[in-house]
């Protein structure tokens, strides 16, 4: 069955209180859609880019009850990472996946998700890989100039933060004013410090869905900052965000058999 039929089935049985999928939007785009009744499931499809896992930690969605969501590999990784970070329990969400023929099935439980993901290795999109390589080949000064130029357009709207499934903190570091860790206004320092801080907070946690970059209303490729941090953690610690629901955070976990020698 397709997503509409699956949604109807799940909603009518009461197994879930809402099904998150996608529906057509303006200018031929696709946008997230919530179906809370069989009738509203009519337009639901799997066709969309956003990482719907960003909704499962929002209180307005949690209040609805158990939700099913159309899940791509990035969505599944985000769900596992959220479980690892104890933000959701596996029974709170029901990921739905689609096969090549448009048939939808459930992936109930962390183990099922992990097994499914093992079959789809994480790969960066070619355009992102190309940009990261280009940045990697720049001198430090060139890279600095590149980002200063890009971040000059930033208006601190936080669309990037709000779209990110891992940015679920109710009281974000940016919101703290005792002390004001990062200046609020959108001047050069405020922009730079925000994006640097966010990249650091996402290092080892970013599932590389790219929603942050897509969300930016002024087209800054902010996703490259968090991708780069994530790739660094992977290269140095051998860990990938969203690989398991029981992941110890690379930057805050010590094991005697860690390969880093600086602490011995």
């Amino acid at each position: 069955m397709d997503l509409r039929e699956k949604a109807k089935q799940l909603l009518e049985s009461g197994e879930v209180k809402a099904v998150l999928g996608f529906e057509p939007g303006t200018h031929g785009t696709r946008r997230p859609a919530f179906a809370r009744s069989a009738a509203r499931s009519e337009k639901l499809t799997f066709d969309g880019e956003q990482n719907l896992a960003s909704y499962v930690t929002r209180k307005e969605v949690k209040r609805l009850g158990r939700v099913a969501l159309a899940a791509k590999p990035d969505t599944l990784r985000a769900l596992l990472q959220l479980m690892a970070e104890r933000q959701i329990k596996e029974q709170d969400v029901l990921p739905l996946i689609e096969d090549g023929a448009g048939q939808v099935s459930e992936l109930a439980g962390a183990e099922a998700i992990e097994q499914h993901l093992a079959l789809s290795p994480k790969e960066l999109k070619p355009e992102d890989r190309a940009l990261l390589d280009r940045l990697g080949k720049m001198t430090r000064q060139e890279r600095w100039d590149f980002w200063q130029g890009e971040l000059a357009r930033c208006v601190k709207c936080y669309a990037c933060r709000s779209s990110c499934p891992m940015c679920y903190c109710e009281h974000c570091t940016m919101d703290c004013n005792r002390p004001q860790w990062v200046p609020v206004p959108s001047h050069a320092l405020g922009n730079l410090e925000y994006h640097m801080t966010r990249a650091m907070h996402l290092a080892g946690r970013c599932v590389e869905c790219g929603d942050c970059g897509r969300a930016c209303p002024v087209g800054i490729p902010v996703h490259l900052l968090t991708f780069n941090a994530e790739e660094s953690v992977h290269a140095q610690f051998g860990q990938r965000a969203g690989a398991s629901s029981k992941l110890d955070y690379a930057l805050s976990t010590f094991r005697p058999d860690d390969k880093e020698t600086f602490i011995r």
Binding site: T26, E60, A159, G219
Partner: protein, 337 residues
């Protein structure tokens, strides 16, 4: 009273040169990596050819994203305060759309209501608007539903409408006439009879006065929470919006002194109305989404006699999850209280 002229594409160079010679900075939409954004330009060749809207609005010219309000130095037991009202640079906004041009009136309604904001006024005084009528629209536009239109002259000092060989030019205000006087030869007589045919077709999508009248009865409707389910609570809509004016005041200081800055803010953020006690009058995203709609379509008309929306559609285009304002308003128009 508008005087109508025609401006050839070639004489636009004359006009730009005259403006520059007069010491004015020219800001216009430019193409950059597939985006359209306002940038300083020195020649018409740099202006974007084929665009519907810029992503950010022109409000930045009168209401910058960061503005210093005052500064001070600190000595033991003493504070020396320094004013910060800017000496604004003479600026011409070239090529913004009629919807955006009409937005300055909504900004003015807030910044000069009861007390006068010197920062806004200093910049507005030095600003002239050469608007560009729309020969093309996209699905996010709904100017005609909110009292505007692709050829509306509201807010422009000169309104250009693209036509074969150049532009129709309506010189509308004293500021417009002063610009014309800088390059009088560029403006050749014309009659404006063919203007309507040049413009994009934008049928009205909903009856705004009816919706405004209906909104009080819809306040407790579950509609708003439902529409806001996919809203992620970022500030993109408020920040790109040419009429959104909500701002934050932030202090940046060290032991020697500091400054007080104004920065853009959004009623969509959960902390916008959060009290120190922890009580939040608008605790859910649905309540905050409702505030956005009501502020623009109910409270503004009641208070200032004008709408807080010009139908430009920037919010819709900027929204990461396509909260299409027009679509939501049409739905609200149709729902039963």
């Amino acid at each position: 009273m508008a005087d109508t002229y025609q401006l050839s594409s070639a004489s636009l160079d004359l006009l730009f040169a005259a403006l520059a010679a007069d010491g004015r900075r020219i800001l216009a939409p430019t193409d950059r990596d597939g985006r359209s954004e306002l940038n300083p330009v020195s020649s018409p060749a740099q202006v974007a050819r084929d665009y519907v809207q810029t992503a950010l609005s022109a409000k930045e010219t009168v209401f910058p994203k960061v503005e210093q309000l005052l500064s001070y130095t600190l000595k033991p037991g003493e504070v020396d305060l320094a004013d910060a009202v800017p000496k604004a640079r003479p600026t011409v906004l070239f090529g913004i759309r009629p919807c955006e041009a009409s937005a300055f009136a909504a900004l003015d309604a807030v910044f000069n209501w009861d007390t006068r904001d010197a920062f806004f006024n200093a910049r507005l005084e030095q600003l002239a608007v050469i608007g560009m009528g729309c020969t093309r629209r996209d699905d996010a536009c709904f100017c005609t539903s909110v009292g505007g239109g692709p050829g509306s002259t509201k807010g422009s000092d000169i309104l250009l409408t693209p036509m074969a060989g150049g532009y129709l030019a309506e010189v509308l205000t004293d500021k417009g006439r002063a610009i014309q006087a800088l390059a009088p030869d560029a403006f050749q007589p014309a009659d404006g009879a063919g203007k309507a045919a040049l413009l994009a077709d934008v049928p009205a999508a909903f009856d705004q006065p009816a919706l405004t009248a209906k909104l009080p009865a819809l306040f407790d409707s579950p509609l708003w929470a439902e529409q806001a389910l996919r809203c992620v609570g970022c500030g993109a809509c408020a920040f790109v919006c040419p009429t959104c004016v909500c701002f934050d005041i932030q202090e940046e200081a060290d032991k020697a002194g500091g400054r007080r800055l104004r920065a853009w803010d959004s009623c969509g953020y959960h902390m916008f109305t959060l009290h120190a006690s922890g009580h939040n009058p608008r605790e859910t995203q649905g309540a905050r989404w409702r505030q956005r709609v009501y502020h623009k379509f109910s409270y503004y008309p009641e208070r200032y006699g004008k709408l807080g929306c010009v139908g430009c559609g920037k919010c819709t285009r900027a929204c990461p999850v396509d909260m299409n304002l027009q679509e939501h308003l049409v739905e609200a128009s149709q729902v039963n209280p």
